[in-house]
Structures are given as C-alpha cells and as structure tokens.
Symmetry: C3
Subunit: 195 residues, 3 copies
C-alpha cells in the first residue's frame, strides 16, 4: 500500500514538473528534443539530487524506466499543444505549485524512510521540491525563480515541516501527507494570487 501511494504521488509530481520544463522550453522556442530534455531534467532533477545526497543509488528513475517514459510523453504532448498561446506562463506557475507541494512531502518521507533525522528530512523535502526548477531555470539561461520568489521556498518548507511534525506525533501517514501537501499548495497559490 505504502509503496503504491508513494509511487503515484511521485509519478504525478514528476509529470507535473516535466510539463513546467516543457513550457519553459516553449518560451525559449526550442524544438521537440529541447522540450524532452528540459521536461525530463525538470521532472527528475529534484529527486535525483535528493537520492544522490541520501545515498539512495541508483537514483529512483534508474530502477524504473516509467519515470523517463512519462517525462518523454508529457513533454512531447506539451510540444504539440504549447502553440496554444494564452497564459502559458500562468499555467506553468500553477502546475509548478502542485509539483512543489507534492515533492516537499514526498521528498521528506523518502528521507525519513532512509533513516534521516527530522531536520534533515525537512531539508530533503525542500531540495526535492526546488532543485528540479532550479536546474530548469539554469539550463534555460534564466535567473533561478526559486530565489526571486521567496514564498516559493517557504511553501516547500511549510509542507515538509508539517508532514514531518505530524508524522512524529503519530498522525496517520496519508493524513500527514495530505495536510502537508495542502498547506504548501495553499500558501504557494495564495502567494501567486496576492502578489
């Protein structure tokens, strides 16, 4: 049960971040291979850095090619739909918020399962949530959004901290995942709304 839920949340986070990478490729007017590369790197970058730091190697997408295939398919579909012009950037920001919230709790849980201290687990949630986007922005030649938009990292920090705290108080895992996810998403979407 645990592995299936984790797989689906992880998979969904990868897919959502891959779309944001492909949308960034769209803004840079790249071709199909550029979409796939930037989408894939964004989708799996945060989890790869987390796994390399934790010593969870080979990293998660090496053991299961479905992650790579998902990134390729999602990026390609985005390529054929992204000419629909309006509000690509607004969409990117909202999808990015969903991926951010998902990866904050999933990343923290992965670290806890690897035996990490709660403080380290929170940091790993932030790493997982932010490094895919950081790599995307650096490769696209843009200044990393993560440090220009302060509520971005704060939202990941909130989600990961809530999840780790609730878990340490013995709250049921799926509830802790949901509360952490919802809080991070609400804070980030709120920041986008009121900014």
């Amino acid at each position: 049960m645990i592995d299936i839920l984790t797989f689906w949340l992880d998979w969904f986070g990868v897919a959502v971040f891959a779309i944001t990478g492909a949308l960034a490729a769209s803004r840079k007017q790249m071709d199909l291979v550029g979409f796939i590369l930037l989408g894939t790197v964004t989708g799996i970058g945060g989890g790869s850095v987390r796994d390399a730091l934790l010593g969870n190697v080979p990293v998660f997408w090496v053991a299961d090619p479905r992650y790579l295939l998902t990134c390729c398919i999602v990026s390609s579909v985005t390529f054929f739909l992204a000419h629909i012009p309006q509000s690509r950037y607004a969409l990117l920001l909202r999808l990015d918020a969903v991926g951010l919230a998902l990866f904050a709790v999933i990343g923290a849980e992965t670290a806890l399962l690897a035996g990490a201290d709660p403080v380290v687990a929170i940091a790993m949630g932030v790493v997982t949530a932010t490094f895919g986007g950081i790599i995307r922005d650096v490769l696209a030649g843009e200044s990393p959004a993560v440090l220009r938009q302060e509520i971005y990292v704060t939202a990941a920090l909130l989600g990961a901290s809530l999840f780790v705290t609730l878990q340490s108080f013995g709250v049921e895992r799926s509830i802790a995942l949901f509360v952490g996810f919802a809080a991070a998403l609400a804070l980030r979407l709120g920041a986008l709304q009121w900014h």
Copy 2:
C-alpha cells in the same frame, strides 16, 4: 579486452572535452589555473554525473588518477597554444562533436554494464555526452549551448539509441560502438556544416 577498449575511448573523450573546456577558458581570457579547472570539469563532468546517478561510486576518475592528469596536461598545452588566434571557436565545436559522439555510446554502455534498462541506458548516454558541456557553459557564465543547438542533444540521442538497439539485437559490441559513434558524429558535424 573490453576494459581496455572502454578505457581508451573514455580517456579520449575526456581529453577532447578537456580541450573544449580550455578553449572556453581561452575565450574568457583566463589564466593557467582557470584553463585547468574549466578543462578538467568539462572533461570529467558528464561521466561524474552519470556515475553519481548510477551509484557507480567512487566515480570513475577517483579510482584512476590518469584521467585528472590527462585533463591537467591537455588544458596546460592548450593554454600555451591557444594564443594562435584563428578559428578557436570552430575548433571547439568540432572537437566537442567528437567528444559528444564518444560519450553518448560510452555512457550508454556504462549504464548497461551497471544493469540499467535500455531506456535508462540511452538517457545515461545523453547525460554523459551533454553535462560536461553544460557545466562548462554555466561556469563560463554563458547560456548552455546544449539547449540552443537542438541537433546537439539529438545527435547524442541518436548515437546512444543506435548503440543500445544494436546491442539488444546481439550485434558485436565494437561494431555497435562504432556505428553509434559514427552516426552521432555525422549528424552533429552535418548540423554544424549546414547551419
């Protein structure tokens, strides 16, 4: 036999990419230590990322100091020759194409030998071929060439895919390596020619 061929191809790819890093240092008018740092990081960067993701640690150049020494020597020689002004950039692009084609097949083979799925092996070929150049461009303060020149990643993808496909059909290893290498090199040099 296998290890000797792999070592020489790997070594040659490292040397060629080190020259491209040193030529980038030349364009930025760095001094000798800058040449060595940028040359070394470019030469061993792609393989280091690949090994860290695969869990092949310590990474390849830690176990064998000849890689580092090669990068230092090649970068230093480039430093003393690079004042010869004409066509440094054209040379950089052509050497980069050779390194790209070599690392695409070597990186894919390294992943296959580590037990990775064919799809993952192709991705590792692309990672090995492109990340040295990406790190070089980021350190030199330039927008990564890999995403501006789409036939670049496509060439690595072609070479790695051909090699993995031929291997899975039981084609002899050195032939598969050569075909993948030649196809990637031809596509990339062709793109440079006709662009």
Copy 3:
C-alpha cells in the same frame, strides 16, 4: 581526537561559507527564507559534491543535523545584522577566503581517508573549497567568481597540495593541516589586498 578536530574545522568552514551565502542573499535583497536557503546551500554545497563523488553517502550533513542547524542559525543572524550597510562585500570576500582555505585542507583529508590517490585528494580539496561558492553564485544569478578570480582556485590548489605533500612525507597531521590552511589563506588574502 582526529574526528573531533575534523568536526570543528569542518563545522567552522560550513559556518563561514554560510555567512557568505547569506551576505550574497543580502546583496540580492532576499527575505529570511532566501537567506537561509542560500546560506545553507553555500555552507554544505562543496562538501556535498565531494561526498557524492567519493561515494561517502549519505553525505556528511545527512548523518549530523548540527550542520544544517548551524547554517540556519548563522544565516538568520546575518539576516538581522546585514542591514548594517558598510563593506558587506569586503567582509564576504574575507570570510570566503577563510572558508576556502579550511575546505581545501579538510576536503583533501576526507579524500585521503576514503583511500583516494594523492592527485585525486588534491582535486577533492579544490572541489570542496570552490563548489559551495560556485553554487551560491549560480543560484544568485551571478557569473561564478571562482573563474573570474584566478588566484582563488590557485589558493585552494596550493593549500590542498601542501597538505597532501606534507602528509605523504610523514609530517604530523595537525601541522600539515595548519601549514596548508595558512598558505592558502595568505595567498588568497594577499591577492585580495594587492589586486
């Protein structure tokens, strides 16, 4: 004894680099979370890259949350003091020199203890000393200082080389650490002075 000395030197290097990251956040007018993120990444970045390459995983700060807590505290204190305007950049450069010299010898020793060849150990000293600052500059959207200031890498190279050479001649460890550290610091501070 050895572990205690290493811990304190390592810890001090992390704290000093965290301040330089927080000062960079200050120059970019980030908020508290931005200070903490940039300070933490700068403090632990170089050692994380070193450990991932050496296969020392989980990396050093995963096993001991005091490193992360130190980065958070140091970055937060810097946040509340950094409005004191004068000479933030001059301070950043001098603290960075101390961290550079510390990490050059500590990084080389960590590699030697992991069984690396002397040449590889020197390279790991340079990696540990420079990659925190490189990541800081890339995240802050600046061209990496490490390659603009050539005496920077040279100082790390000098400190790591001296330490490794003295160790290989059987000089007592704490003396070798001190000589390597002092030489790197003197060269870097001298370069700042006379530039």
